[in-house]
Assembly symmetry: C2
Homo-oligomer: 249 residues x 2
C-alpha cells in the first residue's frame, strides 16, 4: 500500500463540488474513477478542502492509496490520461508517508477571488470571475478587510450548513488589490469555515460599492450573526490556490 | 447616419471566425443581429482584422453605421444586452468620422499567443492556450524570432488561402518570454498575412523544443516557400490584442 499526494487543478464549472455527491458529478468521483481505470482498485480520495459547486482550484492537494506498485510520475501521467475530457488535471504526484493526510496534516490554506469590474459582460472569463458592473473602490475594500484579520468568531461569515465544531478561526491575511479592471482578493488561514471566503468577499464588495461604510465590516463581525452578513459572492470567482504542510518552505 | 467604433472582446471557441460564414456562427453575425435588435436597421460590421475559427480577441476594433440617433454609451449597453449569451462583449463604443474605417484606417495590429508548457492537460485554460507538453526553451525562441523582425517576404509563413496582394510585410516586433509554465509570444505590425502569427509561433516552437536550430528560422524565411514552414500553431492560443489608428497615443 503506497500513499500518493496529488496536486490538482480543476475548473469547478461542470461539477457539483469537490466532494462526492449523490445528485451530480464531482471532482472526487472523476479522480476516483480515473484511479480505478489505472489501478483496477477501488481508490478513495481525501482532499485538503471541500469546495462548492462552481469553485475552481489551481493547487488543491489530495491523497489516494494504491496497493499495486506505481512510479509516481507514471501514475500522474496515467491519471491525467484517464481524467480526459473532465477539466481536472494532476499537476504533481509524489509518495508520502502512510500517516500523511491531505486534510488532517494540512496547516495552511490559501484562496484567491477574482472580480472583473466593468460594464461589459464577461466573455473569456465567463464562469471564471464575478462580474461587478458598478465601480469598486479596491483600496476601501482592503482597509475594511483588515478588521477581519486575526482570531475572531466568524459566525457572521459562516454558512448555516457549516459542520465545523467552532466558529472561532484565525485569519492570517486578507488583501484586496486592483490590476486594471480586475480586483483580486487573496486570503490565507490554517482553515476556513464553509462559505467564509465568499461571505467575506461579498461583504467587502458592499464597501467597495459605497453601500457599506468601512466600519460596518467590523460591526458585522462583532454581531456574530449570519443575518448581519452583507452578501455571499458567487462561486465563479473563487480559486483554491494552495495547501501548506509541515516541512513546506 | 452616425458611424460608431466598437472595441470587442470575444471567446473565439464557439465561432467559425470573425467574418460572416455560410456554414456556421460568426462574431460578425452575432454583432449585426444584436445591432438589428437594438436599432431595427440592417447594420453591416467592418473589423480591423479577420480572425479564424477559435481565435480570441481582447481588443478587436470594428465599426457600424446607424441611421437613428443613438448615444454611444447607451448603444454599447444595448448591444451588450442583446449579445448575451454569445461570448462577445462591447468594451467601448464611440462616434467616429464618416470616413474613419476600422480596417482601412488601421495602422497597427498587435497579437498575443499563449502557450502553457507542462505535462498536465489544460483545465481552466482549455481552448484558451496551446498545451505543449515537452519543455520549451523560450530564450532560444526569442533569439530565433529576431530573424523575422523587419521588412521581409513572408511567403513561408502565409496560408495558401491568403488573399493579400503581396507577401512582403514589415514585422515591427516579435518577442517570446516565459512566466512560470506560460510562454507568451507578442507581435506587432501594420498588418499580417493570413495565418502569419500561427505559422511564426509554430515554427518558433520547433526551435524551443530543440528540433530546429535557431538559424533554421532565417533559412525558412529565406526559402520563401510554404513547404519550408515548421508547424502551424493551433488557434486556441491566439488573441487579437489591439488595433492602432492615427491619433492614438
Amino acid at each position: 500500500m503506497t500513499r500518493f499526494a496529488l496536486t490538482l487543478e480543476f475548473d469547478g464549472g461542470p461539477f457539483m463540488g469537490l466532494q462526492r455527491q449523490d445528485h451530480g458529478p464531482s471532482v472526487q468521483q472523476a479522480v476516483e474513477e480515473a484511479a480505478f481505470r489505472v489501478t483496477g482498485e477501488e481508490v478513495r480520495m481525501h482532499a485538503a478542502g471541500r469546495t462548492d459547486s462552481g469553485v475552481h482550484a489551481l493547487g488543491m492537494v489530495a491523497h489516494i492509496e494504491v496497493d499495486k506498485p506505481f512510479d509516481a510520475f507514471r501514475l500522474m501521467e496515467a491519471l491525467n490520461h484517464h481524467l480526459k475530457p473532465d477539466p481536472v488535471a494532476v499537476l504533481d504526484c509524489r509518495v508520502v508517508a502512510d500517516d500523511w493526510h491531505a486534510r488532517f496534516s494540512c496547516i495552511g490554506r490559501a484562496y484567491e477571488y477574482r472580480i472583473v469590474n466593468r460594464r461589459a459582460p464577461l466573455t473569456l472569463d465567463k464562469g471564471k470571475a464575478w462580474a461587478v458592473t458598478r465601480p469598486l473602490d479596491a483600496e476601501a475594500m482592503h482597509r475594511a478587510a483588515q478588521a477581519l484579520v486575526g482570531l475572531h468568531d466568524f459566525t457572521t461569515f459562516r454558512s448555516v450548513h457549516c459542520q465545523a465544531q467552532s466558529p472561532v478561526k484565525t485569519l492570517d491575511s486578507l488583501t484586496v488589490s486592483r490590476a486594471g479592471e480586475q480586483v483580486i482578493v487573496r486570503t490565507a488561514a490554517r482553515s476556513f469555515l464553509h462559505h467564509q471566503v465568499r461571505s467575506m468577499v461579498g461583504t467587502l464588495a458592499l464597501v467597495g460599492l459605497g453601500q457599506w461604510a468601512e466600519d460596518d465590516v467590523a460591526a458585522a463581525l462583532a454581531a456574530k450573526d449570519r443575518a448581519a452578513l452583507g452578501l455571499n459572492a458567487p462561486p465563479d470567482g473563487l480559486y483554491f490556490v494552495r495547501a501548506v504542510y509541515p516541512g513546506d518552505e
